[in-house]
Symmetry: C2
Subunit: 218 residues, 2 copies
């Protein structure tokens, strides 16, 4: 598939890298290509060296040919990033972000919650897009290598209004190695997946690692 991954941070690198390794045609989007290339960030330079097939382009250029656009930047910038990547009509928008406000220290407050969610905000801003919330409940390395935790015997979620789009995303998650993808329902169910974050953060502290996940046992 032709996939545009928006965001050059930990989640963007993990997703763009793994999708490219799996044989997809992947472009990575950033706000300012020259600035990103000039960034004194050894990890990003090393990542680019390891993934020469992934072109670094503007948000708009990374999205324009894509069938799937992945929102993998800072959650608080998500609406700006996707506005720069528009129009997204007909495209699947896989939103993996969390919008946390760390300005008051740990634990961060949530920028959107309870009666709304980032997934819904994105869907409202781009009514022609097919938004699917997924993977925001695990760390970047667990998103793309679920076998790092207990042989992948754990659960991830999809939320969205378009059943076909959710099936495409579930297929990508299964290519990553996920074994249990639970369909929570329409895009309003992203509230549930996003509000799990405070528990995830406390579990990370208590367990002393981000290499974990939850399994829905039934």
């Amino acid at each position: 598939m032709r996939i545009g991954v928006l965001g050059t941070g930990t989640a963007g690198q993990a997703l763009a890298g793994r999708l490219s390794e799996l044989g997809h045609d992947v472009r990575m989007g950033t706000r300012d290509v020259a600035k990103s290339l000039a960034r004194p960030d050894e990890a990003f330079v090393a990542w680019r060296g390891e993934h020469p097939a992934v072109e670094l382009e503007t948000f708009a250029a990374a999205a324009v040919r894509a069938e799937v656009v992945v929102n993998a930047g800072n959650g608080n910038a998500a609406l700006d990033i996707l506005a720069a990547a528009a129009p997204l009509d007909g495209k699947i928008v896989l939103d993996v972000a969390n919008a946390l406000d760390a300005s008051s220290g740990f634990p961060p407050a949530m920028s959107v919650k309870d009666t709304d969610s980032l997934g819904e905000q994105i869907q409202r801003a781009h009514p022609g897009a097919r938004v699917v919330k997924a993977l925001n409940t695990v760390a970047a390395h667990v998103m793309v290598h679920p076998d790092l935790v207990a042989g992948a015997d754990h659960t991830v979620f999809v939320s969205g209004n378009d059943g076909e789009a959710k099936a495409v995303v579930a297929g990508l998650l299964e290519q990553f190695g996920h074994t249990d993808v639970v369909d929570l329902g329409d895009i309003t169910t992203a509230r549930g997946a996003e509000m799990y974050l405070p528990l995830w953060l406390r579990l990370m502290q208590s367990l002393g690692t981000a290499t974990f996940n939850i399994k829905v046992v039934r």
Copy 2:
């Protein structure tokens, strides 16, 4: 142990009944004993018939001799209920409630969230009490019979400022049959356990049952 269970609904019945069956000295607290006895509620009448050892008393009378006071009523009434049961100095207060506002339909909004929690509100209102948040992440029958789900191979949480109180509560949970009790940290971590509720509610809808739980896989 001497245990006062405040609340006569589903959670109160499940907890008081199971604690009594396990040999504890259990009293059940209600606002108005005569009114509760006159309630045309066949399930409650049947429950009382099955648990003659559990005396029904006022909140204050159920709490006064108790070493552990269980807040098992409606979460939105929790502060009123516990005020009626005060003083709680030195007592362990096991808070299993969720404060949800269903006035706008499904899904309910959360009455307290993000930068505060019901557990913290109770601790602030009763600074001499030793508040432990636990069991709010599962349905009442799963609280006390975890073996109903996958042989109890799943996780529950404790949050609280007092390590000894958390150990006592963890011991009770293990008597119920819980096999994995994760200590999230101080009472502020109740925010995490409480904000999991929106995901729990959506999972209940998606799975079509409340007989499930999550396992923290690490």
